[in-house]
């Protein structure tokens, strides 16, 4: 019999519904697990044990009174610390927001609460989601549960690690340039970045608005689909959220991919992709062929410019988004006695932000400034259009595109942090989906010793059903979903 913390969301809900266990027992088991491993993983910034147990008891009361239960009844969910929860500090892993307590719930938080999920805590991340390793957190790095000396990926490293380590059943992350898929890949869990506009961003503290989406982390593709359905949907509070008919994504999950056309973009295997990773991903492609898919190669030539275009856009938007952190209304504040506001702002921002955040603000400010706007920002927007067109052309021939999520396996903590460009290069295969606004999922597809490898599946807008279907078929044909990190 597995421990309660080991259950998937689907199993948890089922057992609570049938009375086999209670939400309280499940949540207690989760916190027991957290006490056991958190010292080695450091997935959380804030734990919410008291609130979680209260919520679990409320769910149990519903069960005992025979009231209808939500889709995530009693499921322990961790929330990335850039998603606002009313009354719980939300730090973005930054000193700047160390004591910031939002006065409202993000739309996704309202939704998961409404489905009786139990929020257990806020997860660690790269400061303001700027990074791919969760090393830029003001609260220190998160460790990869598979190998604590390596990074869990980022920026949603805490969410990926929490699910992998059994400290949460599900977790919310945000993905601006790969921040869900990267840690999903590195922690060997399922992580999905939805189509831009499918999930409300209301309450997500912005890094780069035009690129990012909130999305699910889960132990299985089924759980991922279940969780996605809870958070998806139009929100009148987010102008960029799109009105599309909602699907029940769990219905599309079947064990074959008969007749599905799978494209392999050659640019996804360019310079910097390790041979081992390449091999793992090709094995996936062959496996999909076994399962009935048709395979073909495809080229998206403009992907060559994806990385620089992504960083120009992301940093430009960030420079404006993060301007509000001046310490006047909330957040980090020193130098109260200064005579003029500009000195106060400068001091607060110089000390309140970490190096990587300041680097991106400065670069973004530069890219938007007079005389450089056309050269950088506008050009990046043009590249973005070209990339979108390349994808459109590719999707005329293929249903989904498959490639590696990360070009290399998890690297050592501290190995790349002094070399920002090397770190930026890790996003080479994840940023295209953000630039084009496409849905993409990372599904575990290999273990190099204790170093997980993930494969990425990309589909046309609002075809999450396709990537989940492919992911599910592959997952069911392998044993990766049953492998656990060696944490004891």
């Amino acid at each position: 019999m597995p421990s309660l913390w080991e259950l998937t969301a689907r199993e948890t809900v089922e057992k609570i519904k049938t009375g086999e266990t209670t939400a309280e027992e499940c949540v207690l088991s989760i916190f027991e697990r957290i006490r056991q491993v958190e010292g080695r993983v450091h997935a959380f910034v804030t734990l919410m044990e008291k609130e979680a147990l209260e919520k679990a008891r409320a769910v149990d009361e519903k069960v005992s009174k025979g009231k209808p239960l939500g889709k995530l009844a009693g499921v322990a969910v961790a929330v990335k610390d850039n998603i606002c929860i009313r009354g719980t500090r939300t730090t973005c892993s930054s000193q700047m927001l160390e004591n910031f307590v939002p006065p409202y719930d993000a739309t996704v938080v309202e939704k998961i609460k409404g489905e009786d999920a139990v929020i257990i805590g806020k997860t660690n991340m790269d400061e303001f989601a700027m990074g791919s390793s969760t090393e830029t957190s003001h609260f220190g790095p998160t460790h990869n549960p598979w190998n604590p000396s390596t990074v869990p990926g980022g920026s949603s490293g805490g969410s990926g690690a929490a699910v992998a380590a059994g400290e949460a059943v599900l977790a919310l992350g945000s993905d601006t340039g790969g921040s869900i898929r990267c840690p999903a890949s590195y922690c060997s869990v399922v992580g999905l970045k939805p189509t831009y506009g499918l999930v409300s961003r209301y309450g997500l503290i912005a890094y780069a608005n035009s690129l990012e989406q909130i999305g699910p982390f889960a132990k299985s593709v089924y759980d991922c689909a279940l969780f996605l359905d809870v958070i998806a949907g139009h929100d009148s509070r987010d102008n960029t959220s799109v009105k599309v008919p909602l699907k029940d994504h769990t219905e599309f999950l079947k064990e074959d991919v008969e007749g599905l056309k799978v494209g392999v973009p050659k640019e996804f295997f360019g310079e910097g992709v390790s041979e081992e990773v390449e091999k793992c991903v090709w094995n996936v492609v062959y496996q999909l062929e076994e399962l009935g898919a048709f395979r073909g190669e495809v080229s998206l030539p403009s992907l060559e410019y994806a990385l620089p275009a992504y960083y120009v856009i992301a940093m430009s938007e960030a420079s404006s988004n993060l301007a509000r952190y001046d310490g006047l209304r909330y957040g980090y504040r020193i130098g109260r006695d200064e005579k003029d506001w500009s000195t106060v702002y400068s001091k607060n921002r110089r000390v309140g932000f970490g190096d990587e955040v300041r680097r991106r603000i400065i670069l973004g400010t530069y890219a938007l400034s007079a005389g450089y706007y056309n050269k950088y920002y506008l050009k990046a927007l043009k590249v973005r259009t070209l990339i979108r067109r390349d994808f459109e052309a590719a999707f005329k021939k293929f249903d989904v595109l498959v490639g590696p999520t990360m070009p290399i396996p998890p690297f050592k903590i501290g190995e790349k942090i002094q070399d920002p460009l090397a770190l930026y290069m890790c996003d080479i295969d994840t940023v295209p989906a953000n630039l084009a606004g496409l849905p993409a999922v990372s599904v575990p597809c290999g273990l190099l010793g204790v170093l997980p490898v993930g494969m990425q599946i990309i589909a046309p807008p609002f075809r999450e059903d396709l990537i989940l279907q492919v992911g599910y078929a592959f997952e069911q044909s392998t044993t990766y979903k049953d492998r656990r990190p060696p944490l004891g």
């Binding site: 939300t90 102008n239 430009s316 420079s319 301007a323 509000r324 702002y345 938007l368 506008l378």
Partner: protein, 489 residues
Amino acid sequence: MSIMAAPGVKIGLEIHCQLTSLKTKLFCGCSSDYRDREPNTLVCPVCLGIPGALPVVNGKAVECAVMAALALNCGVSGRMFFFRKNYFYPDMPKNFQISQYDRAGGVPLAVNGYLHIEVGKKRKKIQISRVHLEEDPGKLVHLGSIDQSPYTLVDYNRAGIALLEVVTEPDLRSPREARVFLQRLRSILEHLGVFDGGLEGAMRCDANISLAGGTRVEVKNISSFKEVERALSFEIMRQKDLVEKGLAVERETRHWDEARRLTITLRTKEEEQDYRYFPEPDLVPIVITRDFVESARAKMPELPEARMKRFVEEYGLPGYDAGVLVGEKALADFFEDCVKLYHEPKEVSNWMMSDLLRCLYENNLELPESKITPAHLVEMIRLIEEGVISGKIGKRVLPEMVLTGRRPHRIVEERGLVKITSRKMLEETVERVFAENPKAVEDALMDEKTVHFLVGQLMKATGGKADPQLANQIILERLKEVMKKKQGK
């Protein structure tokens, strides 16, 4: 030398009008009724720029702005983009303002409009380069002057209020023209029902001024019609003075200091801000369809130009009167309400144009701030018509009506201002006036034209209440008697 004589004055205006008819702010559901409210109470995560909150465009604001653009004869864009204008300032919760931009791929809501203004006898066309929507920043509160205040307080109740920005070409040639333009703009927006210019701070303006093709200087912080004339006149004199002394006019931004009535340097060209405009990623472009524009057009009420024409045709008013009345929507409405009750348009117009406007001006009031109602003015005119009071008393009663809102017949009764029509009473007074002014009586006997002095004395003695016709008649009779007596001697 007069300011008007300054050569080659070119003035362009950038006007910000709050769309005061909206119940809520531009990007959130907070109430826009912020005046006289407890500071920082009409705020939410969106207008406070709390992390994670997102703006949503108030659709009604877009409709109001489209109507305004049409009324200003602009071409309305098919798509509307919001841009971020980035700069740090404590009145901006996000340290950027959501605005619109005409470069970097941006398109303002509307472009290429114009307005006609009449200055003196001349009709001029003032071109409007663009009209767009943006959010108002919060309000900084200082103790006294900004230079000396020991603190700055920030009130975000105003943050996020919908502002309509109207930018003119530098077609205005004098401070007077600038003022007339602003008044015309205000009247149009008020007629559209999107704006109430009577509210404090609802219309603010920046101006750029150059002399004889010289360097352009921008003046900010002009808060009213009166101020615009003062600020521009000061700035023109300042520039003229520099030119006459052979000094250069610097390209800079200056601040109109209302208290001291002068402009001071805010920042020089070197310190000009780089606003790093870029498209607001949280707001998707709004498609403005032909249908939307046409339905907005269909909803537009009668505008000043048409109303003025109607006042001339329907009420037989002189063009000048019609122009003055329609210049302010409240005046025109008041006039028409009066005419509904009392169909002597010219009579109503006369009272409004002369006495009512003077009284408002003297008391520094806008018509809506005063207490007088159309019914009361009509009642007063009727009292005169019916002979209950004289016109002179009417002029005395009006200011009290304006200030207190009391009905004219009550004022007249209480103060005993009813016209004296009793022959006996007037005869007694005439007797006294004659006794007290023997010299004047002599004069009047010699030259009948000087009779008016005696009439005046009688009016004075009766506090203006004497029925003028009867008074005149009695004085003439009495003079004849005096004459007879003299001849009889």
